[in-house]
Symmetry: C2
Subunit: 346 residues, 2 copies
DNA sequence: CGCACAGCTTGGATCGATCAAGGGAGACGG
DNA sequence: CCGTCTCCCTTGATCGATCCAAGCTGTGCG
């Protein structure tokens, strides 16, 4: 009764199909389809019979056929940025793990890709959209002026951003972590430990994320009636930059603590302290951002602000589901709070 | 001439199809299909006409339809293991990046998934196979007794392993890095620096990878007429274990150098040295394995064996291509050489 | 008795690309 | 003038699930 008359002789020519299940259960294809997609339509005993047949055959609906018919792939696209060497940054990788898990629970899989031309924001996206290979995208690197987001908005592709839209006009759904709250907590923590001269080492002004994190620091200091002048530095996100900035600040402003926009920068600070014979956590306190493996494993440990990436992923997938289900799609955003992980450096 | 009579009035109902291109170019669907998949069959002028039409419409073949017909998805499945905290291990993440890139160059995308039940090796694989969602798998965690590999071999699913089959009977294609060669290079490097008592801290005996790496160390020492007795320790892959093992070895065997099976263990050694007031690289040398961000960023830097993951990914995809093209599939393996990255710790 | 209705079947079309034949025009030889 | 052989292109069927519109059967109820 299989779809291929030679099947019995030649052995199975592939995975079982709907028709095979129907034949085994003694029902029609339509009924099997209903059993899977609309079980309420079936009588209990029929449903059970069909399900038994599904189990014995090990039937799983053919993805391609279903995708073709329903015009949906249940795949979420994520463009992977190149792996950053000489950097503590593991945020993307941690996020990928979380996203995969959250997606699975929502019945999605994650499709990774990268653009053949990294400078072109649309590279890679375009082809996947037009070939209907993915239902939606998750965009992570919104901080670089966010060219992806505007491109995607223009081409009406469903997507959710991990990262706030820093351009006012943007209307897409997003999930982000409140960086300012994180650095504020870090700064408050340092103040509670008695520090009064708390320095900031962050990213260049062009980075909205960097400015956001910086705001948490300055806000907290001023809230305690302390000055921030001469205590801040804005540099590239490299260990070397952190190292140099710390040197300058130590010479010119004599801070007793540092809050950094990243663990990478904090690592540079630790290196500077080490060179001067200063002990982190005893002589000078240091706090990083991201709770990277480096922060966890550095001797003594680096106090760091940890982003709740698992929760971010869950929220992202949730919004994605709403977006694709055509329910409330308007530029709603969620801001999650990070928390401070205190280690030996503070 | 569109497939939908209301199309002109309602606007485009989706991406253009083969039929749309055919209509615009004034040829049949099949000719358009040939233009894309078998251009040699067309006359030059026709080919150009079709290509123009493709460009003006921005046509990309519908993935689902193609997959259904050709019974291939051009997707490679990769099961992601949970992100390991408190560990230097970034190998998987680096590999994922490389794999995505190598796959793209071969016309594949990477589908990430994770099993809902991590203890079941087949979890997740099964569904993807039966639904024909992926063409093949890349299996990375072959070191855990390799249950995936045997399951996949049994179910005749195409896959390539990153990691040697440590069970003799296995016949699948694989690509791996010669860990013994890496630790041998590390040990030789230490001997060249004048060390004579070089200790080993590795994984438990159950780990074939650990034993392989250990072999490089012991082989090199013995090759130089040096004894290994009392200089080796086998522990869990945690910082704490490395720390403890280093303590015991320092007390009982007085080594002047350590070779470790991972950066995680090496980090533990560094911590032990630090506690004793010993300076890594001056008093005692340490070499890790994996060239993780932690190795790169630790103060002074950790000398480490770096795996050529980019090359591994290229080889894996290459074998995958051969496997799926039904060309030479027999258990052929490739062993790539790692290289030592020397930093301050040695 | 007849009607409604739940529950299933039947047959077909559909998604969009590809496969396996089939057809027509021109060239060439007899 | 006709056969036949290429070359180039077209036609119809197909992949497997879903959707749609009837149609059929048995049960319950007025």
């Amino acid at each position: 009764m299989g779809r291929d008359p030679h099947r019995a002789a030649d052995g199975p020519s592939g995975p079982p199909t709907l028709a095979d299940v129907a034949a085994l259960a003694g029902v029609s294809r339509q009924t099997v389809s209903n059993a899977l997609n609309n079980p309420a339509l079936l009588r209990a005993d029929t449903l059970e019979r069909v399900r038994d047949a599904v189990d014995t055959l090990g039937y799983t609906p053919n993805r391609a056929a279903r995708n073709l018919r329903t015009k949906a792939s249940r795949l979420i696209g994520l463009r992977l940025t190149p792996f950053a060497e000489e950097t503590a940054n593991a945020t993307v990788d941690r996020f990928v793990h979380s996203l995969v898990q959250a997606s699975r629970e929502a019945g999605y899989h994650v499709l990774l890709f990268d653009g053949d031309d990294p400078s072109d924001p649309a590279s890679g996206y375009d082809e996947l959209v037009r070939s209907t290979a993915v239902d939606a995208f998750v965009v992570t690197d919104t901080f670089k002026g966010n060219p992806q987001a505007s491109y995607l908005e223009d081409s009406r592709v469903p997507f959710v951003a991990f990262g706030r839209p820093w351009t006012p006009a943007a209307l897409h759904p997003w999930v982000d972590v409140d960086g300012a709250a994180g650095t504020a907590e870090a700064t408050a923590h340092l103040l509670a430990r008695g520090h009064r001269r708390v320095a900031w080492i962050g990213w260049r002004k062009e980075s909205p994320i960097g400015e956001d994190r910086r705001a948490g620091w300055s806000r907290t200091l001023r809230g305690h009636g302390l000055s921030t002048s001469g205590l801040a530095s804005r540099v590239e996100d490299t260990v070397r930059s952190g190292h140099e900035a710390a040197g300058v600040l130590l010479d010119e402003a004599a801070p007793t603590a540092f809050v950094c926009a990243s663990d990478t920068l904090a690592t540079g600070v630790l290196r500077q302290l080490h060179e001067r014979g200063l002990v982190a956590g005893r002589d000078v306190a240091v706090v990083g951002f991201d709770d990277s493996p480096v922060a966890q494993l550095l001797p003594g440990g680096l106090t760091s602000v940890r982003q709740p990436l698992e929760e971010v992923a869950v929220q992202v997938v949730d919004r994605l589901g709403k977006l694709l289900g055509h329910r409330e799609t308007f530029g709603s955003g969620t801001l999650l709070a990070p928390h401070l992980v205190v280690r030996g450096s503070s």
